[in-house]
């Protein structure tokens, strides 16, 4: 074989591999992808169980008096939550009564599925979590994921016993939001993730009469449009708005909750099936 052709042989082989890959049916690729994911899933799940065990043994080191104090604090919290639950039931009854009178369509109901975080995958390219529940708990693609501070993201893929969640700080997540106290929808997209800093996102199509700055930040919440996220969930704080180039709207920046980067447990909201 001539020397020149011999040097090109690796590239010709690569070309053949790529050509073969391109003509492989999508079904086969999807199956292969799921197989490879399931192959690696036990690694992450085992590590997360090991972390849970480590945390358990760390907690076992607490003294009895510390546990008694924690129990007392928890009892107080439970009492206040009990009161909030009662108020919530009363308000839901009121909403149902008003919906009946005004003949309004009712809000989608959700049930919560709590899940432990297996793996955090926060690169500059994407921001994802893997959680320890999947098809075995009937999770669905697109389901909203929340925590005590607001929105975490949405389920992007569901596997046998794990699922992946795209975080709201990820550039792949875009959703309709409103500034608290306003009803006009604006577009939110994640994607600002500086090293050692807080994660953030950008907002577009902000009405011109909305003002915010780092000193007077405004709360950004879900709008409920699109039907994925229930309305009123916290996304983050609008810390900057400035007129966009077209002059018709403003665009700005949103600072997200710092706790998003250290989540160990999240809640997946699954729509209740209508009878």
């Amino acid at each position: 074989m001539p020397k020149r052709l011999d040097q090109a042989r690796p590239f010709l082989t690569l070309g053949l591999v790529v050509a073969a890959w391109l003509i492989i049916p999508t079904v086969f690729k999807t199956f292969t992808r799921a197989s490879f994911f399931e192959l690696t899933a036990p690694v992450g799940v085992a590590a997360s169980y090991a972390r849970d065990l480590q945390e358990y043994w760390t907690l076992r080191l607490h003294s009895n008096s510390e546990l008694i104090e924690a129990g007392r604090d928890l009892a107080r919290l439970n009492a206040s939550y009990d009161l909030a639950v009662q108020q919530n039931i009363e308000m839901q009854g009121e909403i149902a009564r008003l919906e009946g009178i005004l003949r309004l369509p009712s809000y989608t109901g959700y049930h919560s599925e709590h899940a432990r975080v297996v793996r955090r995958d926060f690169s500059g390219w994407w921001q994802r979590l893997t959680i320890r529940k999947g098809k075995n708990y009937n999770l669905t693609v697109g389901a909203p994921v929340v925590f005590s501070g607001g929105v975490v993201g949405r389920v992007s893929e569901v596997f046998a016993y794990t699922a992946t969640v795209d975080l709201i700080s990820s550039q792949t997540v875009r959703l309709a939001a409103v500034v608290e106290g306003d009803t006009r929808p604006i577009s939110y997209q994640g994607g600002l993730n500086p090293t050692f800093g807080s994660a953030g996102g950008v907002i577009e199509f902000v009405p011109l009469d909305i003002f915010a700055s780092a000193n007077s930040a405004k709360r950004l919440v879900t709008s409920g449009l699109g039907g994925v996220f229930p309305p009123g969930l916290t996304i983050g704080s609008v810390i900057k708005v400035e007129p966009s180039t077209d002059g018709l709207f403003k665009s700005g920046e949103v600072k997200l909750d710092d706790r998003l980067a250290a989540l160990t447990e999240v809640t997946v909201l699954l729509p209740l099936e209508t009878p």
Binding site: R120, S123, D166, G191, F196
Partner: protein
């Protein structure tokens, strides 16, 4: 076939270690990528077909856990493999230091090319680059630190198959 399986297992181990490290680094918004370690030794020591297959399948493993088109990492790993394979006769490749240097350059290329494929999706691409450069710096430092360990594991695993054991072990 056994050599291929052993290299694939070492890639799984490498992925698992970096995944756990990235999990721990997440609160600081740091990320490390050392995919070139899955490519370098096969490219420097294997025959073209076996090495290319190992790199390609290793890339598919990375693709399965990433939100990218299935085959992106596989193609980039295979391309890196071919480039290193083509240059290997002109490179010193028997000592660990040379292999580490080759892995550093391969990782640099992989990271930058992969970044260019992903950066277009960002709403603010300019603000993404400082983060990517910080991640790249961390990745290169980590790679330089763990590459000898990784090569040793791969070489010891290959020694099990008696594949030029004396040379690599």
């Amino acid at each position: 076939m056994l050599r291929f399986v052993l290299i694939l297992l070492s890639t799984v181990l490498l992925w698992a270690v970096t995944a756990q490290l990235n999990h721990a680094l997440a609160p600081w918004r740091l990320y490390v990528f050392v995919g070139a370690l899955a490519v370098t030794l096969p490219a420097l020591t294997f025959t073209l077909r076996t090495g290319l297959f190992a790199s390609f399948i290793g890339g598919l493993l990375y693709d399965a856990v990433a939100p990218v088109t299935f085959g992106t990492h596989a193609f980039l790993f295979a391309l890196t493999h071919v480039v290193v394979f083509n240059l290997r006769e002109r490179l010193p490749r028997d000592d660990t230091l040379s292999r580490v240097v080759i892995a550093l350059f391969a990782n640099l290329g992989l990271f930058l090319v992969f970044s260019f494929t992903q950066v277009a999706r960002s709403p603010a691409p300019a603000s993404l680059w400082p983060r990517l450069f910080a991640d790249l710096a961390c990745s290169q430092i980590l790679l330089a630190l763990i590459a000898p360990w990784c090569f040793a594991i791969q070489a010891r695993a290959l020694a099990l198959t008696d594949y030029e054991a004396k040379r690599f072990a």
